[in-house]
């Protein structure tokens, strides 16, 4: 190999590495930008209803001042699941820009049950992964919970009741905690194993 070719190869390699860093960094940077609450509520559909409702709940205002933002609950943290969710979000963009499916409070209300059910389904399927980013059984002090809550969160209690491992997940009982429940909600949906 001549020294010129060597130089060219080295140059190309350095160029490739730099380009790779810039592109990869840029990609992640852009993705992080779309992962902020500011970005979520830049669409009026999100700001007018889901966000306004969140503001009234304990996930927004509470004793300690720790709060959850939209992506904390609605965007998975593990990279691969995050990418999948981001690709699915193109569907939301399609409806925002093309069909305007929920672009008025009335339209949103009409679709609320369907929207809620799809989020509940997703959370059930992931074993409430996003809830568990903050809420961990290991860190729950059952003594500080009220008796019913302590029973419901105590694995030993469940085993004593039916001898089986609990298969329930957070969302099975905790629907409608961050946004209003939809019209047509049956209370039994928050009582797994009943009926």
């Amino acid at each position: 190999m001549t020294s010129g070719a060597k130089k060219g190869f080295l140059g190309l390699l350095v160029f490739g590495i730099v380009l790779g860093i810039v592109l990869w960094g840029g990609f992640n940077w852009t993705m992080d930008l779309t992962n902020t609450e500011k970005f979520c509520i830049s669409c009026h559909e999100m700001e007018a209803t889901p966000y306004a409702e969140l503001e009234e709940t304990v996930h927004f205002t509470n004793r300690t001042g720790v709060r959850a933002t939209c992506p904390d609950c609605h965007v998975p943290r593990p990279w691969i699941y995050k990418i999948v969710r981001k690709i699915q979000a193109s569907n939301e963009l399609y409806h925002h820009f093309i069909t305007g499916e929920v672009d008025s409070p009335e339209k949103f209300e009409a679709k609320r049950l369907v929207l809620a059910q799809s989020v509940w389904k997703a959370m059930k399927e992931t074993d409430s992964r996003e809830c568990r980013n903050c809420h961990k059984f290991e860190s729950m002090d059952l003594d500080k919970q009220q008796s019913r809550a302590a029973d419901a969160h105590d694995p030993y209690y469940w085993e004593a009741v039916d001898g089986k491992e609990p298969s329930y997940t957070c969302i099975d009982c905790h629907k409608g905690i961050a946004h209003s429940l939809p019209e047509g909600f049956d209370p039994i949906w928050n009582s797994p194993g009943e009926g």
Binding site: Q146, R148, S180, L181, E183, F185, P187, S191, E194, G195
Partner: protein, 141 residues
Amino acid sequence: MKKRIVTLLAVCVMFTGGAIAGAVDSLRLGQDLEEDSKVPVKKEQLVVQGGIERSYKIQPPVIPHKIDKDKIDLRANTCMNCHSEKTYKQKKAPKAGDTHYTDRDGNVTKTVANRRYFCNQCHAPQVGAEPLVENTFEGAK
């Protein structure tokens, strides 16, 4: 002239009487007009295991837990998550009374009747506030 004297006397009596009765408490409780009003002590909603006794026979039972996270609106009523006919057993909560399942025409309804929908119209959470005026009221036993 006589009339005038009587009026004068009456005015005198009113003023002196007013001074004697100066001990009467106003709603401001003797607080000066220019003073800042006293800030009431913050009270948290109580949690009482096992519920709170009624004070009289037909009293709507008071709520022995916090309800700050609950919401009753046109779409849903989160009290019903535990107190409905379908869920009360599993949640170990008292079921809404039978009277709550009849509409105004006396028809039995499947779920809580519309006229009983707003729980906190009758059922109130408690904050453990002391009575403002001492009294000897005792609940029916």
